[in-house]
C-alpha cells in the first residue's frame, strides 16, 4: 500500500514538474506587439503595461512581448523577409494593397469571421484592407479629409464669427480670398499646399474631385488615365493662381510634406491645411499648438458644388508567418485596447485609458471616424469622447456634420494610386516653381505617362 502511495505521489510530483517545465508544458502563444509605444512615450507605455497585465490575466496561455515597430518602407522588407516582423503592426493607409501583393501580410478572413468582425467593418475601410473577398487587416481608425485651421491667424485677420469660431471659406474661390486677407493682414501663408512627395498628389486629388474631376475612368473593361480633363486643368490653374496671382502659399511648397504641413499649422506658418481628424495629435502633441487655437472645418466645395471628402483608414496588419492562434491573440488584444467592435468592461476601460492619455498629452478628444459600424460600439465610443471632451465642439461640428452626409465620403482612386500621385506631384512642382508653366501641356504629359503605367500593369491582365 505504502509503496503504491509512494508511486502515486511520485507520479503526481512528476506531473507537477512537467506542468511547470516550460519546455514540456503546452507551448505559450507569443504575441509580439508592433504598436507598443516607443520608449520616450512614457505615459503611453504605462497604458500598454496596464493592458498587457490585464490581457495576460485573462489569457494566461499568451505571452505579450513588446516589439515596437514604427512602419517605414526602408526597414519593412528586410524585417519581413528575415521573419522578424511583429505579430501585429501598424502601417500607413497607402500600404495595404502593396503589402498584400508582396505576400508580406497574413490573410485573416477566417479569424475575423470567427469573431464576427468581418460584418462590422465599415465597408469602405474593408475594401482598402481586402483583396477580392479575403481580408488582410483591421482598421485602427479611419480618416476623412477636412481642413485644419489655425484660429489665431483667423483672429488676427479679423475673420471670426461672434461665437469665436473662424469664418472659414466654403468654396475654393472663397479660400483664395480668405487666404489673401490672411496674407495681407498677418504676413503668413493662407494655405499650406504639399508638393514634396506623393502626398502632394494625394491632396490634389481631393481638390480636383471638388472641381468635378474624375481621375481614372473605365471604358469597356479598360482603365484610362483622366489627368488632363478640363476639370483637372481648372483645378491645377487654380493652384497656379494661388501661387502666382494671390501668392498665398508657404515659401516653398516643394519642401512641404504631410508632417511639415501640421508643423505649419501649429506654428502659424500657414492658416489652412488639408488634414483628417485622425492626425489631431500632430499639431498639438507633436508641435505644441494650444487646444483652443485649432479647428477642423469641411474642405471647400468646388465651383460646381462638388463637395467630397477623401477617406481612408490606418490599418493594423499581421505577420505573414503568424499562426492562427497568434492572430486570435492579437485580435483579443485589440479588444482590450478598445479598438475592436466589442463593448466589454475591458474595452470600455481601454477607450477611457486612451481618452485620458489624450487629455494628459494635450491632444483634442474628438470623435474618431467610425472604422466599425457596430451601433453599440459607436455609442460607447461616443460616450467616452463626451466624458473626456477637452475642446469646444463648435470648432469641429461643421466638419463632423459634413462627413456624415450622404455621398460626401469618397475612397481613393482604384489603380496604381501612388504612381498617379507621383505624376500629379510632378505637375504641382512645375506649376509652383515656374510662373510660366503650361498647365495643359504638363497634365498631358502626366496623363500619357500614367496611361503607359496603367497599360503596363493594369490593362495587360
Amino acid at each position: 500500500m505504502g509503496k503504491k502511495i509512494a508511486i502515486l505521489l511520485l507520479f503526481v510530483g512528476m506531473l507537477f514538474l512537467v506542468g511547470n517545465n516550460p519546455v514540456l508544458a503546452q507551448k505559450k502563444v507569443v504575441l509580439k506587439l508592433g504598436m507598443w509605444p516607443e520608449p520616450t512615450l512614457k505615459s503611453d507605455i504605462e497604458m500598454f503595461e496596464k493592458w498587457k497585465k490585464e490581457f495576460e490575466k485573462k489569457y494566461p496561455n499568451v505571452q505579450v512581448v513588446p516589439a515596437t515597430y514604427k512602419y517605414a518602407t526602408d526597414t519593412f522588407v528586410p524585417l519581413a523577409e528575415s521573419g522578424n516582423l511583429p505579430t501585429i503592426f501598424e502601417t500607413w493607409f497607402t500600404e495595404p494593397q502593396k503589402l498584400i501583393d508582396g505576400k508580406f501580410v497574413r490573410d485573416i478572413t477566417v479569424e475575423l469571421r470567427r469573431k464576427g468582425w468581418d460584418k462590422l467593418m465599415n465597408p469602405s475601410v474593408k475594401q482598402i484592407l481586402s483583396k477580392g473577398v479575403r481580408i488582410y487587416g483591421v482598421p485602427r481608425d479611419a480618416y476623412a479629409l477636412g481642413m485644419y485651421v489655425n484660429v489665431e491667424l483667423f483672429e488676427k485677420a479679423g475673420l471670426v464669427n461672434p461665437d469665436g469660431t473662424p469664418k472659414y471659406p466654403k468654396t475654393w474661390d472663397e479660400l483664395a480670398k480668405t487666404a489673401k486677407t490672411i496674407k495681407d493682414k498677418t504676413g503668413r501663408a493662407g494655405l499650406c499646399l504639399l508638393a514634396k512627395d506623393n502626398a502632394g498628389g494625394w491632396h490634389f486629388s481631393q481638390i480636383a474631385w471638388n472641381f468635378g474631376a474624375k481621375l481614372q475612368v473605365q471604358k469597356s473593361g479598360k482603365w484610362y488615365a483622366n489627368l488632363n480633363s478640363p476639370e483637372v486643368v481648372t483645378a491645377m490653374n487654380f493652384i497656379k493662381d494661388l501661387k502666382w496671382k494671390y501668392d498665398v502659399l508657404t515659401d516653398d511648397p516643394t519642401s512641404e510634406d504631410w508632417g511639415s504641413g501640421f508643423e505649419a499649422i501649429a506654428t502659424g506658418r500657414a492658416a489652412m491645411y488639408l488634414g483628417a481628424q485622425d492626425a489631431v495629435n500632430q499639431p498639438t502633441q507633436v508641435y505644441g499648438m494650444p487646444l483652443d487655437k485649432l479647428a477642423i472645418v469641411p474642405v471647400p466645395a468646388g465651383p460646381k458644388g462638388h463637395h467630397y471628402s477623401l477617406m481612408g483608414g490606418t490599418p493594423y496588419m499581421f505577420n505573414a508567418k503568424a499562426t492562427s492562434d497568434e492572430v486570435m491573440a492579437a485580435l483579443n488584444f485589440l479588444e482590450i485596447m478598445g479598438k475592436a467592435p466589442v463593448v466589454t468592461p475591458e474595452s470600455l476601460a481601454g477607450m477611457r485609458a486612451d481618452a485620458e492619455n489624450r487629455v494628459k498629452n494635450g491632444i483634442p478628444v474628438v470623435p474618431s471616424f467610425p472604422a466599425w459600424i457596430d451601433p453599440a460600439w459607436l455609442k460607447a465610443q461616443d460616450d467616452v469622447v463626451k466624458e473626456y471632451r477637452n475642446v469646444d465642439m463648435a470648432f469641429y461640428n461643421d466638419y463632423y456634420n459634413w462627413i456624415k452626409q450622404k455621398g460626401v465620403l469618397k475612397s481613393e482612386e482604384p489603380y496604381l494610386t501612388q504612381d498617379m500621385y507621383a505624376e500629379l506631384t510632378k505637375v504641382l512642382q512645375a506649376v509652383v516653381s515656374n510662373k510660366n508653366a503650361d498647365v495643359k501641356k504638363l497634365l498631358d504629359t502626366a496623363n500619357s505617362n500614367f496611361q503607359k503605367l496603367l497599360d503596363m500593369y493594369v490593362n495587360k491582365k
Partner: protein, 290 residues
C-alpha cells in the same frame, strides 16, 4: 609542385578573412542582384524567370529618361565645380607654413558629420523665404529671397555645391599626400633655374600628381554617378524630376514600391554604364600616352 603551394599557404591565410568578407558582403549580393534583375519577385523571393522584361519596363518608365540624363548632368557639374577644388585646396595647404595641421583637419571635418545630417543642414541653407541662410546672406546685399531648390535649371549645380563642400576634404588629403611625395629637390632645382610659381606648378606639381588625378577623376565619376541621398533629402528628385537620378529611381523602386527586381535592373544598368565609361576613358588616356 606541392612545395610551391605550401609556400603560398601563408599568403592565402592572410588573404582569407578579406576574401571571405568580400565574397559574403560584395560578390554574392552583386551576383544575386544581377540574377534578380531577370526574375519577377515578391519582396526578395524570386518567382519566375522573365528574361529582359524588368529592363524593358524600367526603360519605359516615365521617370527613366529624366533620371538617366540628370545623372550625366550631375557628373558634368561635379567635374566643373568639384574636380579642381581639392587640387587647389591641397596646393594651398601644402604651401601654408603656420597652422598646417589646423587647416588639414578643417577641410576634412565636413566628412566626419553623418551624410544625412549634412543634407538636412543644407536644406536650411537653401531654404526658401526669409529664414533660409543663403537668403539671409544675400538679403544683406539687397537680393530678394528666392526659393532656390525650385529652380529647375539651378537645382543640380546647387546640390553639387553641397556635395563638393562635403566631400572635397577627403580628396584634398589624398592630393596632399601626393604633393608631399614630390621630391623637394625638383623644386630647388627649378628655383635655381629661375622658375616662378606658375612654372613650378606647370612643370613639376601638375605632372607629378597627374596619375593620381586621373585615378581620382574616375573614382569621382563613379561616386557621383551614384548620387542618392543628397537629392532625396533636399528635393526628393523635384521639381518635376529636375534633380532625380538613377539611384533615386533604384531607391523608389526598392523602398517605395518594394519592387526589388526592377531596382536590381536599374542597378545593373548603372553598372554597365560605369564599366563602359571607365573602359572608354582608359582607352582614350592610353592612346594619348602613346
Amino acid at each position: 609542385m606541392l612545395k610551391k603551394y605550401k609556400k603560398d599557404i601563408a599568403g592565402w591565410m592572410i588573404m582569407l578573412p578579406a576574401l571571405l568578407l568580400f565574397t559574403f558582403f560584395i560578390w554574392e549580393p552583386l551576383l544575386a542582384s544581377v540574377v534578380m534583375s531577370f526574375f519577377s519577385a515578391k519582396g526578395i523571393r524570386l518567382e519566375k524567370f522573365v528574361g529582359f522584361q524588368n529592363y524593358i519596363e524600367v526603360l519605359q518608365h516615365p521617370d527613366f529618361k529624366a533620371a538617366f540624363s540628370n545623372t550625366f548632368v550631375y557628373t558634368f557639374w561635379s567635374l566643373v565645380i568639384g574636380f579642381l577644388v581639392p587640387i587647389f585646396l591641397a596646393i594651398i595647404i601644402n604651401e601654408i607654413i603656420h597652422l598646417k595641421g589646423f587647416f588639414r583637419i578643417s577641410v576634412y571635418l565636413p566628412n566626419v558629420i553623418p551624410g544625412l545630417a549634412v543634407a538636412i543642414m543644407w536644406t536650411f541653407i537653401y531654404r526658401a523665404g526669409k529664414t533660409g541662410l543663403l537668403n539671409i546672406i544675400l538679403g544683406n546685399l539687397g537680393v530678394p529671397p528666392q526659393a532656390w531648390l525650385t529652380k529647375a535649371h539651378l537645382v543640380i549645380p546647387l546640390i553639387v555645391m553641397f556635395m563638393t563642400w562635403r566631400s572635397a576634404g577627403a580628396t584634398t588629403l589624398i592630393y596632399l599626400a601626393g604633393l608631399q611625395g614630390i621630391d623637394p629637390e625638383l623644386y630647388e632645382a627649378a628655383a635655381i633655374d629661375g622658375a616662378g610659381l606658375w612654372a613650378r606648378l606647370r612643370y613639376i606639381t601638375v605632372p607629378q600628381i597627374y596619375n593620381l588625378a586621373r585615378t581620382l577623376l574616375i573614382l569621382q565619376i563613379i561616386s557621383v554617378f551614384q548620387v542618392l541621398y543628397e537629392p532625396l533629402i533636399l528635393t526628393n528628385g523635384g521639381p518635376n524630376n529636375a534633380s532625380t537620378s538613377l539611384m533615386l529611381l533604384v531607391y523608389k523602386y526598392a523602398f517605395e514600391k518594394f519592387d526589388y527586381s526592377k531596382a536590381a535592373a536599374v542597378s545593373v544598368i548603372i553598372a554597365i554604364i560605369l564599366i563602359l565609361l571607365t573602359a572608354l576613358y582608359n582607352k582614350l588616356v592610353k592612346e594619348n600616352e602613346m
